[in-house]
Symmetry: C2
Subunit: 474 residues, 2 copies
């Protein structure tokens, strides 16, 4: 099928305006939030409903043309990058909130529904949607399902897979299936759980049944400033050991603080701090005061320099805005940066931070650490300058060394950003060949012709297609 | 391979005493807790370690002999029943607690480790294992993994799949693999989640990494007595809507109360009650008093006859002992009973209870309702007398009608007891043929020769082997 025929057929299904195919218009779709690898898609198509998705997929399947589902393109591991010139099936027009059942605490959304809009739509009844990635204002729930997205509040409330009860999905041959449902723990195999986090390799999710939660009655946010990373890490362990499960427990180190203070929402943290902890309690107001005091006591026990409970909503909002813009703010202190994402057993935090600091010293690249400390999900930000010859490659190498440290201590190579193309060659750090083969076999059950997001997630002995590597500039 | 050769080979692997093969000795292994269907296994083998499991499985695989993993045999859906005369691989000798990591809150157990023993082993440090099936004193964690077992406290803490981080498993060809790990949310597909609840059809789990939790600082238990099932149901909805998530929220109706009061732990509930709610708060003691008062207020709002907060540990323990023996206590008021297990959206509780009551009236069989009301997981107990001709068949039919009601309101046919052989023919009530086929294909990836627990979980066009149907007598 030549390009002209393909475009005509796609337009017949979705309408003439819903297909992008001119080379210049396609540039915006060459990558997602992982910008180091870029490739031109053959076309981008914008279906409006499940039937259109199914018809598009059937057309592509029958003609052996590979394709990739795409949400808002905020992914950080290149899951939506068309490395083989795939057709991108964008779900952004399928963005409706289809129904809300407050009594049973579920909602049904289309995949293009923006994460934060769901919370806004149900807030009037006192409900919210829990997974809160930093990109919540733009990322889609369909994309969150693909990557099994997390966020600061996943410490207490769990990641996307804990909030998805069922999905409607177009299989890679165009068939429409329903998995899971409006009640949890269906019999048979947990295929919904298998789809969540499968990074678009098993089909295209067209409807999502999610859990919604009652908004906590109250929130108390504590900020604690430390002269030592070790003391801050020990505080994290001690808080968890106390039996309190905070809604969020975030940490930033000295370089990260430098970044956020240079960003759009400076808090005024002293420049010589070693670490900041942001600890947020949520739940019923009864007893919360006492719990906050207990947190403050623990901070003091570990030599906190200064500890403060937010005195107003404004103060709390500023602390969070400061934290949530940490990635972007790195652009203020470095020409380029690369976000890493690893998970470690919480108790190894001090050791891992020391080893990351060693890697930084040896390589000469600065590394900022911003992370969900409560669940051991690190986000080292590797700062570099792509204008310096070889420095991009060095940053990639440093990222891989950081992941090796995570794997060495019994952790894993991605917490919430996915594998995509960024980490497909790191998978052997934590899986044997047999374990990878088993996963590929499972994928083949859904995707036997490997047309749906091919050549992602798993290491390839050799890449089918050469991809253009470009620096990640801000 | 003839029987003599098989026994000799098995004995060579596990030792002569670890194989049961004489017909009389095999009688005890003809069924699990689902006693309506019985069949004689070819042999029962008791491996001591993973290598022995792998060697046994390889032997059976290479000779085309089907086999089934078995825990304590407390399953309620016939998952461990050797309907094809399979070899049973009992994991009860592999019952060690291999390690505990309090700091990272994980423990590693062998599959034969008894559920409650884990909690007892870690209680001295203030920790416990959350999933609490009523059979906790005897059921094994390996069996819990197979069935994705629940329990009263799963309302707040989630079922087994929420507490298993990884497994070591012997594949149906004898290969040993590791899935998941000690940190949550591994990249790649969630194969651990797929194994949990797969009812022994994908392999034999030989090690389990579980989450352990800090014991709640305090507990408050409220019992509420109602003159109307509707009022009790409304209370359940109102409690959940208030934002309080109790550790457990249990309900029993009039027939169930008659049963538990005739059992070993009578509380002294009045005989004319329509329903009892058992509501348990757990967590930090700060604020718990106020929360209990709020619960009491809600009960009053829905016309509770009497409501009481437990005044001592002894009182609380009695209430729970009374509730936990509900299934067994039915034996005191009926010669036979059959436990059903369905899930419904919480808001449909009053309607579903009315429809179950209609089914009871029409069939002439009494039905007791005991259930995890908070998460809509019903356990209707169908009372019958197998000595009356046709009554066993009628009870089976009534059970199926009850499941149809659950399916009709958007629920499902099993919450925590599994499908096994009991409900394999009910699967089409909630899955299309395509959805079942997809699951069978997934199973085949792990179990291509269908040797590992064959002919369970999915409906068969026709049974391969005739099974003896016998009544379930107590």
């Amino acid at each position: 099928m030549n390009q002209e025929q393909l475009v005509a057929e796609l337009q017949r299904i979705v309408g003439p305006k819903e297909v992008i195919h001119k080379p210049d218009d396609l540039i915006a779709y060459e990558c997602d939030g992982f910008t180091i690898v870029r490739a031109r898609p053959r076309a981008v198509v914008f279906p409006n409903n499940t039937q259109q998705v199914a018809a598009v997929v059937k057309l592509l399947h029958d003609n052996g043309i590979p394709f990739i589902p795409r949400g808002a393109g905020t992914g950080l591991s290149g899951g939506a990058t068309p490395i083989n010139g795939e057709v991108l099936i964008s779900l952004v027009k399928m963005n409706r909130l289809l129904s809300v059942d407050f009594k049973n605490r579920t909602a049904v959304v289309e995949p293009g529904h923006v994460n934060l809009k769901l919370t806004n739509a149900i807030a009037h009844e006192g409900y919210y949607y829990a997974p809160d990635p930093s990109s919540g204002m733009s990322c889609t729930i369909g994309g969150n399902v693909g990557e099994n997205a997390g966020g600061p509040h996943c410490l207490k409330y769990g990641v996307t897979s804990n909030h998805v009860l069922g999905v409607e999905m177009v299989m890679p041959d165009g068939e429409i299936v329903t998995l899971g449902g409006a009640v949890p723990d269906m019999p048979g195999y947990d295929l919904t759980g298998l789809i969540v986090g499968s990074e678009g390799t098993m089909g295209i999710v067209t409807k999502i049944v999610v859990r919604i939660l009652k908004k906590p009655q109250g929130v108390k946010t504590v900020v604690a400033l430390y002269d030592s990373v070790d003391d801050a890490s020990q505080t994290v362990s001690a808080v968890i050991a106390s039996g309190i499960i905070p809604g969020a427990l975030e940490m930033m180190d000295r370089v990260a603080i430098e970044g956020v203070e240079a960003g759009n929402y400076p808090v005024g943290y002293p420049k010589d701090l070693a670490a900041v902890l942001l600890i947020e309690l949520d739940g019923l107001t009864a007893g919360m005061e006492a719990m906050a005091e207990q947190i403050v006591d623990i901070c003091r026990q570990y030599h906190v320099r200064e500890v403060r409970v937010a005195q107003s909503d404004k103060e709390r909002t500023l602390w969070w805005a400061n934290r949530k813009t940490a990635f972007g703010a790195m652009g203020k202190i470095s020409p380029d940066y690369m976000v890493q994402d690893g998970v470690i057993p919480r108790s190894r935090l001090p050791e891992v931070l020391r080893r990351i600091s060693d890697i930084s010293r040896r390589s000469g690249l600065r590394i900022a650490n911003v992370f969900h400390a409560g669940d051991g999900n690190l986000h080292p930000l590797i700062l570099f300058n792509s204008a310096n010859p070889g420095e991009t490659e060095l940053a990639v190498k440093v990222g891989s060394e950081v992941l090796q440290v995570c794997a060495d201590v019994g952790g894993t190579i991605t917490g919430e950003h996915g594998v995509g193309i960024e980490k497909q060659h790191d998978m052997p750090k934590i899986f044997t060949q047999e374990e990878i083969d088993a996963q590929v076999e499972i994928m083949r059950v859904f995707n036997p012709h490997n047309l749906c997001n091919p050549d992602k997630l798993f290491p390839k002995p050799s890449r089918c297609v050469e991809v253009k590597r470009a620096a990640h500039t801000h």
